[in-house]
């Protein structure tokens, strides 16, 4: 016992140093990752503004995001609108009169401001974010991205720019369609299930909705489209190793873009409606 007593503080001190070292290393890794990501984002955006643009690639991505996501986004917004109408009816009928106009208002506001863009953002994160990360990640690990460089084709311009552009421009379009479908879902339930007057419901919807509701939703959509495609490209582009690396890249892309969609949704809402 007398022997071990003096060595104890030394051991504790070395453990504390280890811990500090670990903290420092983690912090440095974090800083490096943040820097890499910022650099990647700036480079990608700068390439968006400089020719040449690969039009056939851009067209393909527009189809992928704008057209092939339509069924998923349409279905989710349709059912969101339907469930909104149903839920707000059960809620409002407790307070009796005026339920009819309240439901139309709630459905159109919730869909255009929140559910349309958020649902579309999350669905596209799952569908497009994952496929971008997997495709670009596989191209990275099989040296296809290096091959692009040796064939005088800039990988940023050929792979990333088309996807970013498609995300930024196509998601608002998707959301606009989703808005209409979502409101239609609310209409279906109100008229055919709850027995409201059809023209009255539509009249209420159109009277109540303001352009800022729709515009804020479309701005959100553009931001989400950018985030989802950027995350897919970033994690795919930086994937390492083989199949496992691609798997990790895909997971990271979907998780990070979903979290960012929900977080940014709060802040953009704050920007548009916070002051009132």
């Amino acid at each position: 016992m007398t022997n071990t007593a003096p060595t104890l503080p030394v051991r504790v001190r070395s453990q504390a140093l280890d811990l500090l070292q670990l903290l420092g290393r983690t912090f440095l890794v974090f800083l490096q990752a943040t820097g890499n990501f910022a650099f990647f984002t700036i480079r990608s955006l700068s390439h968006c503004l400089r020719p040449p643009l690969y039009l056939s690639q851009i067209g393909r991505q527009f189809m992928d995001i704008g057209y092939y996501c339509l069924p998923v986004v349409g279905l989710t917004t349709l059912f969101s609108g339907m469930v909104l109408a149903l839920q707000s009816y059960t809620g409002f009928s407790r307070y009796a009169a005026g339920a009819e106009s309240a439901i139309a208002n709630i459905v159109v506001i919730s869909i255009t401001r929140e559910l349309g863009p958020v649902m579309a953002g999350l669905m596209v994160a799952g569908r497009i974010g994952a496929s971008i990360a997997a495709e670009i990640g596989t191209m990275r690990v099989t040296e296809q991205i290096d091959a692009l460089t040796t064939l005088s084709t800039h990988p940023y311009k050929y792979l990333i720019v088309p996807r970013l552009l498609a995300g930024i421009l196509m998601l608002p379009l998707l959301v606009a369609v989703g808005d209409v479908i979502g409101v239609f879902g609310g209409y279906l339930i109100s008229v055919y299930r709850l027995g409201f007057n059809a023209s009255n419901y539509l009249d209420q919807t159109l009277r109540f909705v303001e352009s800022i509701d729709v515009i804020s939703g479309l701005v959100k959509a553009a931001v989400f489209g950018f985030i989802v495609t950027l995350m897919g490209c970033y994690f795919g582009f930086n994937s390492k190793g083989g199949a496992q690396g691609v798997g990790t890249a895909t997971t990271n892309a979907v998780v990070s873009s979903s979290i960012l969609v929900l977080t940014l949704n709060y802040f953009i809402t704050g920007l548009f409606f916070g002051a009132r």
Binding site: E143, Q144, T149, T150, L151, S152, T153
Partner: protein
């Protein structure tokens, strides 16, 4: 003499973190010459080639092509450098979303904006040079065998008539007969184009077939260089061990490393 030097590396260093991969590489290749760089796995062969291309950026030293410094070149200058290169990748690295003919004529279609009809004809002609018929042109890379993929990749590397071609392990993963077919195609295509080439390989049969000169890289340095016929009496114990494939010798394999 110096006028004919196509590629020259002087004292090139590259490290990834604390891992030093290139440790002062000196190398020069004459115009129209075929240099084969031999060496074990993980000795820096691939990194050396990628640093010449600029895919990996060297930390220090000088990389000259046609006498012009290219290390750190970016933008238009890098594009001009890359335009004279072709490369055959180890795993072929064909674009699996595109049919064979679009792969072969990729550079012509994308970078040089050649009309598709013309590019397709040229792709079929180039496929003919590597012994593939026009029926292959419409297939996708996944529908081809490994040997055929290699040939398509070779066709892609030579289609734009580059002045410099790099071959990264051109025969790895092929049976000996197919390996020899690829070697012969490489020799033939290079001779026809008059291109300068660097190949990296650990296949001695391939090295003997395609090389004019051979260099050996070990621990990030070129430790021997000479004509192909000199390699059997190089007097260098490292080279001797490598070309005879002996486990015992100055090169110690770190087998226990995780």
């Amino acid at each position: 003499m110096a006028l004919n030097t196509k590629i020259q590396l002087k004292d090139v260093y590259k490290a990834f973190g604390s891992k030093k991969v290139l440790n002062g590489v000196y190398l020069s290749v004459e115009k129209g010459q075929s240099l084969v760089v031999i060496g074990g796995s993980g000795t820096g062969k691939s990194v050396m080639i990628k640093s010449i291309l600029g895919i990996v950026e060297a930390d220090s030293g000088s990389i000259r092509i046609d006498g012009e410094e290219t290390r750190g070149a970016a933008g238009k200058k890098r594009e001009a450098v890359l335009d004279q290169f072709g490369m055959l990748f180890q795993g072929s690295a064909l674009f699996d979303s595109l049919p064979v003919w679009r792969n072969v004529s990729f550079k012509l279609l994308q970078a040089r904006r050649m009309p598709p009809r013309e590019a397709r004809d040229l792709a079929i002609e180039t496929l003919g040079q590597v012994g593939l018929g026009p029926e292959v042109a419409g297939l996708y890379p996944a529908e081809l065998s490994g040997g055929m993929q290699k040939r398509v990749a070779l066709a892609r590397a030579i289609a734009a008539r580059p002045e410099i071609i790099f071959f990264d392990e051109p025969t790895t993963g092929l049976d000996p007969i197919m390996a020899d077919v690829i070697n012969e195609l490489i020799v033939e295509c290079v001779r026809k184009l008059g291109a300068t080439t660097i190949s990296i390989t650990h296949d001695m049969a391939s090295a003997r077939k395609i090389a004019d000169r051979i260099a050996m890289i070990y621990e990030g340095k070129i430790i021997w260089e000479g004509r192909k016929d000199e390699i059997d009496h190089s007097g260098n114990p490292y080279v001797d061990q490598f070309i005879h494939g002996r486990a015992e010798g100055p090169i110690q394999m770190q087998v226990l490393r995780p």
